[in-house]
């Protein structure tokens, strides 16, 4: 068990809870800060448990990565984003499901999953963010009823920056391969 990771996990979760209103008032902060922080909270909590994540087989690890993908897809739906702001039950579900199904699944499944699957999902994550950025920047109507069109455009540009950032970050190992080949 790693106390530092537990404390960090709790810290990320507390930030999301204590600053819920200011974070959710802005779609960029909501989608690109609060939701990732919740996932990071779950991720840190699970890797804080130590050896647990090494005891699973590759098929289960692959399945866990897919659990994270479906959870991300669910919470990226504009309808889900709107629902969290008007329905307390959905809001609570968000605070529980993202740490567990995104952060926790990635923490357990990442290391032991098939490297081709990881690469495939990373490529798809970048392209999905690109599509989302185009959609949010150019949609003439509000995609989320809870946010202004101008905020929607900002979110679109933030998606684009995130996609570029991830593409760069995930490309670096290709030019300077790490010693641990599981980190594809």
């Amino acid at each position: 068990m790693n106390k530092v990771r537990f404390i960090l996990s709790l810290g990320f979760l507390l930030i999301c809870i204590l600053f819920r209103q200011p974070l959710e008032a802005d779609p960029v902060k909501h989608v690109l800060i609060q939701l990732p922080f919740l996932a990071i909270s779950g991720y840190l909590f699970v890797i804080g448990l130590g050896e647990l994540n090494l005891r699973i087989t590759e098929p289960i690890a692959n399945a866990l990565l897919l659990v994270a993908v479906f959870a991300i897809l669910f919470w990226m739906l504009p309808r889900s984003i709107d629902a969290t702001l008007v329905n307390p039950v959905v809001e609570i579900a968000k605070f529980i499901s993202i740490p567990v199904f995104v952060g926790g699944s990635l923490a357990i499944g990442r290391a032991n999953s098939n490297p081709f699957l990881r690469g495939f999902l990373k490529a798809n994550a970048i392209s999905m963010l690109g599509v989302l950025s185009f959609l949010y920047i150019h949609a003439p109507l509000r995609i989320c009823n809870s946010y202004l069109v101008s905020d929607q455009e900002r979110l679109g540009f933030a998606f684009l920056i995130t996609a570029i950032g991830l593409a760069i970050a995930w490309s670096i190992p290709l030019f300077a391969p790490p010693l641990n080949k599981s980190n594809v």
Binding site: N62, A63, F70, F74, P78, D82, N145
Partner: protein, 206 residues
């Protein structure tokens, strides 16, 4: 072969369950946004709207809801605020086109158009008359009205209207034309520019 199936089985289970969850969350991949979900829900369930009392641009009471308050007419409702610089002005122009289509088809006695203000504090009868004059709403088939403040939340909830303040002292809201049948059921929601579509829906309903 067996090991291959064992390898894929957990992922296949997740794909089936995850796909099912997404299917349920989007009403069968038909509604990805709150607005499309609202329209789908209305088209499939045709909910009865509550009785709402409005004040029109002449200062008269106007009822919105079930018979006898529907005046035996199909009611078309759009939500506006009169100081809106863009969307509500466009909505007014589209409503004028719809009014003309209905009048030309001889249906003006069987349908009524109401532009309802969700900003009753700012939109006084005088403000509403100005908006009406700008768009040619005379009050015969098309009138402008405002909700009374105590009923504002009820109106928003029942119609699924979402209004948020913008950065310029106004609002952004889900602009649409709401079609209520004579019994007060909300039967369909259309884009404000879908004049032909609304006209055809009114014809089908008669």
């Amino acid at each position: 072969m067996r090991s291959f199936i064992q390898y894929l089985l957990p992922s296949c289970v997740v794909i089936i369950l995850g796909g099912g969850a997404l299917l349920a969350a989007t009403d069968g991949f038909r509604a990805f946004t709150e607005e499309s979900a609202r329209r789908l829900h209305v088209a499939e369930n045709q909910p009865i709207m509550p009785l709402l009392e409005l004040e029109d641009m002449k200062g008269d009471k106007l009822m919105l809801g079930q018979e006898p308050y529907s005046a035996g007419k199909i009611t078309l409702v759009e939500f506006i605020y009169t100081s809106c610089p863009i969307i509500c002005q466009a909505a007014g122009s589209d409503y004028a086109r719809l009014r003309d289509r209905l009048t030309q088809a001889g249906l003006s006695g069987q349908a009524r158009l109401i532009s309802v203000s969700f900003d009753p504090v700012q939109d006084t009868p005088r403000q509403m008359r100005e908006y009406a004059e700008n768009h040619g709403a005379t009050g015969d088939i098309w009138t402008i009205a405002r909700i009374f403040p105590p009923d504002l939340d009820l109106m928003k909830r029942s119609f699924g209207l979402r209004v948020i303040p913008d950065d310029m002292g106004g609002y952004q809201h889900n602009a649409a034309i709401h079609l209520l049948d004579k019994s007060g059921r909300l039967s369909n929601i259309f884009n404000i520019e879908a004049v032909d579509e609304v006209f055809q829906a009114v014809q089908r309903m008669l």
